[in-house]
Every structure is written in structure tokens, then in C-alpha cells.
Amino acid sequence: MRLRLLLTVVLVACAGSSARAADLPPATKTVEAVIDQLVDAAIADANVIPAAQADDATVIRRLTLDLVGRIPTSGEVDAYVKSGDSDKRAKLVDRLIASPGFVRHQAALFEIMLNPEGDRRGSGALRTYLTDALKDGKPWDVMFREMLLPNEADAKLKGAADFLRGRVSDADKLTSDVSVAFFGVNVSCAQCHNHPHVKDWTQDHFYGMKAFLARTFDNGGFLGERGYGVIKYKPTKGLERVAKMMFLTGATVEDANAKEPTAAEQKAEKEALDKAKAAKTPPPAPKFSGRAELVKIALQGQNADFFARSISNRMWHRFFGGGLVSPLDQMHAENEPTHPDLLTWLARDTAAHKYDLKRLIRGIVMSKAYSRSSQYDSENRPSNKFFAVARLKPMTPQQLSTSLKIAATDPASFDNLTPDDFEKRMEQIESSARGFASLIAQPTDNFQIGVGEALLFSNGDRVLKEMLTDGTGTVLGRLKGMKEKDAVEFLVKVAYGRPATADESKALVVYVEKRKGREADAYKQVLWALVTGTEFRFSY
């Protein structure tokens, strides 16, 4: 009964969205043009005054941090700011997106998205897989398929299996994590009861999704899947039920094998599994795979809306610091997007362009909405939901640690490098920053910076040894022989990518002059104050 009701609701909702499709901006428009059209329209409707466009130095800092995971060198900033090329932003975006840093940084972010709890993250096989996949420009639906139906016999794709492997011992968690990561839906509330506030989500949804996934198991380090099995659950009211394989839209898959096996079947299966285990090969795939059915149905027709909307929303969140739907795992009818047409258009465009992540990302960062200032001086600061002012995005541990190293490096050492050597240098800096990054907390929505970080920066000897040294090739080393004013302004420029203000310069000179005879200490402290400052900590 409930199911039929739900199906009706979904059908009506889908009919509604396709009826509206005619009102959406045309599919031929660029991503950035549609973003600006619809964001600006909402801003105008609400009579909100948006922040001005950020200046060039801010734009290159934001783009470099968001796309390749580090602050720009002061040489990169200068070249960008000075350039009179009217197409310079597009050229910068294309250069960054084509660079190996983009692949590494985005792979790290995808890994955080897929393993938000942080265990098994970092150097594992999944990271390798994601890096290779992004390098090859694999579409998101292909990555989804490879992670849910991993081919462990192919060494190059083996890492994709890690997403399932980490969850294989807990089918409830697997169900919940798959729904969250790929469909933007958190059905875990519906595990114990129908969701109190969201009529979309019932226990049928949780167990319907679980029915696709619960047959997965570990067989001697390889993933196996049974071709049979039944998921039963006891609803809060009524008798025990058998869960049908049911996708989030209510679409179901008929499964003739939803039964318990006979003793003979069990015996045959065990023999086959033991044989695979002994041979150290993946166990034979079932004739009827629940996971394959899930991948198929999830990408079919309008069912694919969940998949397309979720990745569009997640990419929006990555670059704007907040989703069109927020939180990211609460995409349901009672949690409307801030810009419903925009999300629908982006999802349609993304699906129509074969889930090309680079196209989506490029469109987002080329929009004027993305490049607004994060500063808003008047009192009537618009709500975040308008995307009228840029949000501050706390750096990830790796972004912060890499950026610290860059700020501590003599910028002249980046000059005159070939593009290839520059990229190699950045990769070296990034990997040398990994150890320090492991001491810093990974930001989440509503992130709070703890006193542990402040203590680490205040009293940790790694900060002193790795960043505040004045040997050859360091920014502090460059200061020797400089006048106080020149030295402090140089430090500000390197750390913040902008000239020091007159007030800053004055305050810093006073600080250094007070330490006459021990200027080297004073400069270390100035650099410390700059890189622990709020201006350094965020992509703004």
C-alpha cells in the first residue's frame, strides 16, 4: 500500500520535473552561463545585493587551491595579475585542470567523499584507482560501475574494489554508504523506523537497497557475491517482511533467487569458493548479481536523477563550500534545493555529457557566481543560500600543509623552471607535506578548528623545523640583508599573495624593530603569525 502510494508520488514528481524541463534554460547554453543566469535571477528576485567580483589575486588563489590543492606561488600570482589577456581566467583554469596536481588533489577529495570517516584513507589502493581514473578522464558513471562491480582480476582496476571491501563485513553500513556516496540519500534513519519527517524514506527503502548489496562477502581477500539470499526485516508495525530489491525511486527488480539455498547448492558453492581461495583468484560471479542490478537500475531512465543530481550537488559543494542541497546526503522532497532549476539543469547537462567531471568542474569555476568576493562590508549580508557572497572554505590538511611549505620556500626557486619541472617540484613539496598533514583534522560541514591544531602550531617542533627555518632555498633565508620594511612586505606577499597594507607593514616593522639584534627570530615569528592567521587557513 505504502509502496504504491510512494510510486505514485515519485511518478508525479518526475512528471512535474519533466513538464518543467521546457522552462529550463536550453541545453545548448554553457554551464557557467546557466549558473549565472539562475543564481543572478534568484538574487534579483530577493532584492539582494551580491558581493563584487573578487580581485585577480584572490581569484588565482581560490582557483589554485580549489583545483590543484595549494596556494599559488607569488610568481604565478604576479603573472596572472599583470596579464592583460581578456581570456586569462579560462587559460588559467584549463592549465590547472590539465595539470597532474588537479588529478592528485581531486582524487584526494573523492577519496574523502567515499571514505568520510578517514580510516583506510591516504595511500591505499582506492586512492591509486581514483588517481588513475581521473587521469584517464573516466566519467563518473564508469567510476561508479567500476567501484560497485570491481574487476579484481585486472590489476589496474583492483583498487576500485576497496570501496566495497572496507564495508563488506557490515551490510547495513554498506547500504547506507552506497546510498550516501552515490545518490545523496541517507536511508540509515529508515533502518529502524520509517523516517519521521521524510515520507520518501521508509524501511522498505533501506531494506530494498540492502537487498541489492547484502549478498556481497569476502572470500580470502577477494570480493564474492552470492546469487541468492533473502533480506527479511521486522517493520515497526506488522509482520516480518521479505525485502524486494528496490531502488530509491521505488523501482523494483524481480529476483527469482530470493530464497535460501538447498544443502546441495550450499555444498557446491562452498567447494567453488574454497577452490578460488586456494588459487588466490576472485570467486566466480553469480549468474544474477544484485550489485549489477543496482548499477543498471540506478542509471536507467529517470532513476538516474538521483545519481546525476548527487554528483552535481557534490561538485557544487566542493567549489562553493555549500551544496545546492544541504546536507549532501539529504536529497529528498522535503529538503528543496536552493536553486531547483539550476540543480535539475546541471544534472541533466552532466548526464547528457556522459558524466564528464571536468566539464562540470570547469563550468562551475568559470561562473561569475564562483568568483565573487568573500568579503561583504555592508550589514545586510545575504544568506548563504543565494551564493551572493563567496564562502570561506577551510583547507584540507593536505592543502594546508602543502601551502605552508610553499609559503616557507624562497619564491625565486620556482622561477625559470620548465612547466614539467615546476609540476615535479610541486609534487615533491606535496609529498613532503604529507607527514605534517596527518596531524591536522579533516574539515567537514560546520567544521570547528580545535585547540589541538592551535597547540600544534604554537608549540610543535615540526612547525619550527619544517617551516620556520632560514636555510638556503627558504623564504626566511632570502631576507638576509633586506631592510625591515622590505623583509616583512616580502613575507606578506609570499604568504598571502598580495601586497602588505600600510598598517600591516607598519605593525610588522614595529614588531621586528622591537627585537633589534635578533631580527632572524623576529622574522620567524612574523612568518608564524602570517601562516597561522585566518587569511592563510581558508580558501576564500
Binding site: 580545535g450 585547540v451 608549540n459 619550527l464 600591516e504 627585537r515 615569528q525 608564524w528 592567521g533 587569511e535
Partner: protein, 433 residues
Amino acid sequence: MPRNTFCGSAAHAIDRRALLGGALAGAALASDMTALNALTAPDVSKALKTKQKRVILLWLAGGASQLETWDPKPGATTGGPFRSIQTDVPGLRISELMPKMAARMKTTCVIRGLNTKNGDHGSAALTMMRGRRDEAALRYPDLGAVVAREFGPTESKVPDYVTFYTQTEGRSMAPGASGFLGARYAPMELTTNNYPEFIKKLDGITDLDHLERGELRNVLGKGFEKGRNSDTLNSQNEAYQRVRGIMASEKLFDITQEPQKMRDRYGPTQFAEQTLIARRLVEAGVPFVRVGRAWWDSHGQNFETHQEMVPELDHVMATLLDDLGERGLLDDVMVMTLAEFGRTPSINASLGRDHFASAWSCTISGAGIKRGSVYGKSDPKGNTVVAEEVDAGSLFATVYSALGLDPHKNYYVGSRPIPLVNPGVEPIKALVG
């Protein structure tokens, strides 16, 4: 009711926030030590303790045996070699390994009917630190984080949540965690020695430079922060503002600051020293301290293990309760003994007891718990709970109530209300009446 005041004005009743906020506004960062000294001044610490509840959790990692501590079964086939002794509470007998606590059970409530249904170290430890299982996509804060959040003022000059766990066995299975409350309430974890990491200034910088460098940081931020608005940014500044205070609290971790007589009372063991430090911390206003003592996981030689470890627990816990009582702190400081589970009544072939979550015990002393009480009853062999069964949820609801908190109070994750305990879970009325 007369109220303690800080500045003499009745209109200005003191709370910690006012006190510390005032100290901050006054002489800014340079006055850290002054503020801490103020906390130990008699009238101020009196004002503090009437306002703020605190908890010391003695975490018996690995699972202490209820039969060799709080629920002995002498004479039963499962009873083992130790006898039971009468306590100062009529009708209440505990293991003969705990003679000191036997004379002090009037301070304490024993809960004997724990049935927590999980015998796996890791996941059971998570449950017993949180009062419930995490949802797949929701990480609950543990008891320490909730108490830190409820009783630690935002401008706290001391750490809010400190956890000692020095032994390596089982440490990674029972980390302190603030869950969705975020890093602000994450524990300060002490695992290698009794000093927190990064609490001491490095030698390479003078104290004045360290202070002024921090001030320079604040000054530099002003321009950037103008016209920008972010809770994360505020939390960063708050974190840096707490650095000097936390550094000044370093002495709280220094056991040599205690009179030798007091150190002798607690004893020379690491557990004793950490418990004494815990007392120093709660006295200075730290809301939650966990002292982890491992490793009780006596799958073999259960009786030797307990013969060695229970008397230490008995002595340290009794000394702590005496000490808190003498300082007038017992109405505001709760002391708990808890673990991830207890141990099987049945004795295995290695003379050990295995993991057992169906009928085990914990204790709560002080604060608002009904003292000198026993709740719950196990059968004569100790295999099942026959009366007044308690699960992790109702235990936590009871603890929150005994601390004066409404267990149904909501936190919000986004717009979703998350009560301190799951809906429908109630405290044990008989213990918090």
C-alpha cells in the same frame, strides 16, 4: 538561597563564563596565570563547584570481572576463589579484594544488571562510551564530549576533556571522540606520558615572544576578518585564544605540585598518579577526565590478574572518593567505573573468564546519584539479569540526570534534532529521584 559572588555584588552572581570572560577582557592574554590562580582561591572554587558538574571516569579497559569486584558469587560453581565481604551499606556485599571500597559504599551506587549485548572490544567500547551505537552516517559524541560541551565554557582556560590511556593494549579500540560535536570538544589524549602534547613552549622562543607573536597573529587577522563571517573562522581564533590558558594549565598535570603526603596516599602506580592528576584537573574546572587502566582482558589466569589489579583499583578509588569528599567536591564530581563489558561467569580451561555483556556491573559515585544503593540483580550464578536490567541507553540517561542534565535535551545536526539519549530511553528513576 544565598549565592556566591565574585565581585561582591549580588546582582553579579558568578559563573565560570563570567569569571573567565572577565579575566580575559581585563588583562588579555598576559593574565592567564592570574585567572588560573583565581580558580584555586577558596571562594571562587566554591562558586565554581556549585555551578559545574564534573566527571572522572575510571575506564577498566578490556573488561574487569564483575564477579571479582561488584557482584561476587562466592560458593557458586562460577564464583571463583574469592569471598565476599560486608560493606557499610546493609545487605550489600562486594569482593574481598575491595576492603577499602567496602567501607565506602555509602558514597556509591552499584549497578549490577547491565545487559549491553555486545562482547566485541572495539564496538562495545564505542557503545559504552556513547550510550548507543553510532548510526551508519552519524557519529555520536561520547560521554566526555557531551560533559565537556555542557559544562565547559566556550572561553575555557583549561582543557574540557582529558583522557589518559597509557597502556597500549586496547587503546586504539576505545578512543575518545566528540562525534558530531566537532573538534572543539575532542579530547586531549595523553598516551605516552602524563603531559599533554604541545602544551609546553619550545625552548627556541622566549615566553614574551610567544605571547606577542600570538597577539601579532590576531592583529594581522583583523583586516581579513572585516566583512567576513564564518563559524569555522571564529573557531580558529577561539582555539588560538585558548592556547596560553591551556599552556598555563600545564602545572595541573605536574604531580610534583602535590604535597608528598597526598602522593603517598594515592600511591606510586601510574593509575594512582593519573587519578590524582584527574582530581587536580576537575578541581580546577576540567569537566571530564577519563583515566584508562588496561588490560583487564583475563581470558587466562583471571584470578591472578584480578588479585593484582583489583586491590589497586580499590585503593585508588577509595582514596579519590575520600579526597573529593574532604575537598567538598563529591556533590559535584561524579566518579564512575565502567568498561566495555564484564566477564563470563563460566571459567574456561585456562582459568580465565571471557567477554560477557549479559549481566555485568558498573558504579557511579557522587554528584546526583542515589548513594549507598544497588540496582539490578543477577541470578545466583551470574549468568543473567533477573531484576532491574539496565542497557547502555538507560545507564547514560541516568548519568546525565545525575549530573543535572535533561537526557532528552536536543543537539542539532543541521536541522535534525538529536537528543542526548535515543528517543524513548529513560533514566532509572530510583537512582536519580
